[in-house]
């Protein structure tokens, strides 16, 4: 399978703290990866470095053939359009309904045709089983529904990779399982998924390649060892 993410001798810093040192790491197309570790171990920083939100100190990162550390503003936008990002804090716009949240993203990423926009919104809401929630304001959605809304948003631009930062962080076990099942379903269709989480129960339930953030490095482990 084709390598779509590659870290070569990367140092990642948060302000002056070294989070990762000399990180070497590859992810192939279609994989489902868990990144685990204690709070503050660098899971989110690792994901942020993938979408050029956190600049790296040393080394190089390649994502979908983009050299992340060399990107200018326009190319960062292009890269992010190819990634679906599920943010830890959702980053949904609370002043509008679900349809407008998704419509806004499509317009911001260059979609113009109203029919195509409507069609795509309907499609992604079907995918995440929120088909009847288009008109609902965000405060009318439950935590699980909001999380699925962020996944719907991540799916809008047919991403090749989905980066999910603690997608089950605010959910009860039942809803968490549903979210991971949904991500697995998306993965089965060919999208590469990277999930940063500290919810080990979901890994046991849905085992897959797992990497642990420890000692400023990323170590592969098996689901049974968790």
């Amino acid at each position: 399978m084709k390598t779509i993410i590659e870290f070569k001798a990367v140092d990642i810093l948060q302000k002056t703290n070294i989070i990762f040192q000399n990180l070497n790491f590859k992810i192939s197309s279609g994989e489902f990866i868990y990144i685990i570790g204690k709070t503050g171990s660098g899971k989110s920083s690792l994901l942020k470095s993938l979408y050029a939100e956190l600049p790296i100190k040393k080394g190089s990162i390649s994502v979908l053939d983009y050299d992340v550390e060399k990107l200018n503003d326009d190319n960062i936008s292009n890269l992010r359009r190819k990634l679906g990002i599920v943010f830890q804090d959702f980053q949904l716009l609370t002043d509008r309904n679900l349809y407008d949240n998704l419509n806004f993203i499509l317009k911001a990423t260059g979609w113009k045709d109203k029919d195509k926009i409507d069609g795509r919104i309907k499609e992604v809401l079907d995918n995440v089983h929120l088909e009847n929630c288009e008109e609902k304001m965000l405060y009318e959605l439950s935590g699980g529904e909001q999380q699925r809304a962020t996944i719907a948003r991540a799916l809008l631009n047919h991403p090749e990779i989905i980066l999910a930062d603690e997608p089950t962080g605010n959910l009860d076990p039942e809803k968490s399982e549903k979210i991971i099942a949904l991500l697995k379903e998306i993965n089965d269709k060919g999208t590469t998924i990277i999930v940063a989480t500290h919810d080990y129960s979901i890994i046991k339930k849905f085992p897959s390649h797992t990497f642990v953030c420890e000692n400023r490095s990323l170590v592969e482990t098996s689901s049974e060892n968790i």
Binding site: D73, D74, S77, N78, L83, F104, I105, A108, T109
Partner: protein
């Protein structure tokens, strides 16, 4: 509420604040222009007298007057004959000094009013020296102390007004800048979300910048209407104080307000956006 509507909802406060600031700037501009006219008026009343030698023929005096009239410094000349000078002096003294003396000792003279740019002590001294060399002229006379005092006061007033103007200009720009920065600041999460999902800087800036131009236009128009109303009121109450018939000056002020309104809002929005487009996650909550 759409992205554009969200921006527009905060526009009203910007338009109100900007209109008031531009209104104050307009008043100041009008004061400056009027102050300049007042200063010119005072300066153009500064003059000097050229005393003609005894026995110079009228035709020579007329030629000298014409010569002075043709000079760039001359605004207006007035030939005072011996008889006119005697009449004036008699009125001032209240008695007929010619009967007492038995003759008219006064000389013919030409009173010269200067253009404002020449009405300063240096130019007057230079002119005095130059004219004194003329064979027909007995003496060039002007009130040196008065001229120096007027010149000094006009200079002080100009410096004060200019400093006040610059200060107010800085305050105005700061106020406008802060109002707009606050407006952009309130949308920093929206900007960040757009950046994170892959919106280009151009797409993000577009609605903000086009809205800033409209805000500038609306604010300028409101400020111009307010100025017109105030000028009309002042004109009714103090017709001598203001000259609102001076269409050129009014045009300059209104055009300046219009351009400044648009330019200020656009620049402030541009720089505020630049900041929030580059802001790091750790700084966004500060």
């Amino acid at each position: 509420m759409s992205f554009k509507n969200k921006i527009k909802s905060s526009s009203m406060s910007i338009v109100i604040s900007m209109s008031l600031v531009l209104f104050v700037l307009g008043i100041l501009g009008f004061l400056l222009l009027n102050a300049n006219r007042l200063s010119n008026h005072v300066k153009q009343n500064i003059g000097f007298s050229v005393m003609i030698k005894e026995g110079v023929k009228e035709v020579d005096i007329m030629q000298l007057q014409k010569l002075i009239d043709s000079k760039p410094y001359s605004l207006e000349t007035n030939w005072i004959t011996k008889e006119d000078a005697a009449t004036d002096l008699q009125e001032e003294l209240g008695e007929d000094f010619i009967v007492f003396l038995g003759y008219n000792p006064l000389l013919e003279s030409i009173d010269i009013k200067l253009k404002a740019t020449y009405a300063n002590p240096d130019s007057l001294l230079l002119l005095q020296k130059k004219l004194s060399k003329n064979d027909l002229i007995h003496e060039v006379f002007y009130q040196k102390d008065l001229v120096e005092k007027i010149s000094e006061n006009v200079r002080k007033m100009s410096v004060f007004l200019l400093s006040f103007c610059i200060l107010l200009f800085i305050i105005s720009f700061t106020l406008i800048n802060n109002t707009i920065r606050l407006s952009v600041y309130s949308k920093r999460f929206l900007i960040r979300t757009m950046k994170l999902v892959g919106a280009t800087n151009k797409f993000i800036k577009g609605p903000f910048l086009s809205d800033s131009i409209y805000n500038g236009i609306y604010s300028s128009l409101v400020a111009i209407c307010m100025l017109l109303a105030v000028f009309q009121l002042l004109q009714n109450d103090m017709p001598d104080f203001l000259n609102i018939q001076d269409l050129k000056s009014m045009g300059i002020i209104f055009a300046s307000i219009f351009v400044a309104g648009i330019l200020f809002t656009w620049l402030s929005t541009f720089f505020a956006l630049r900041k929030y487009l580059r802001i790091k996650e750790s700084e966004i909550y500060l």
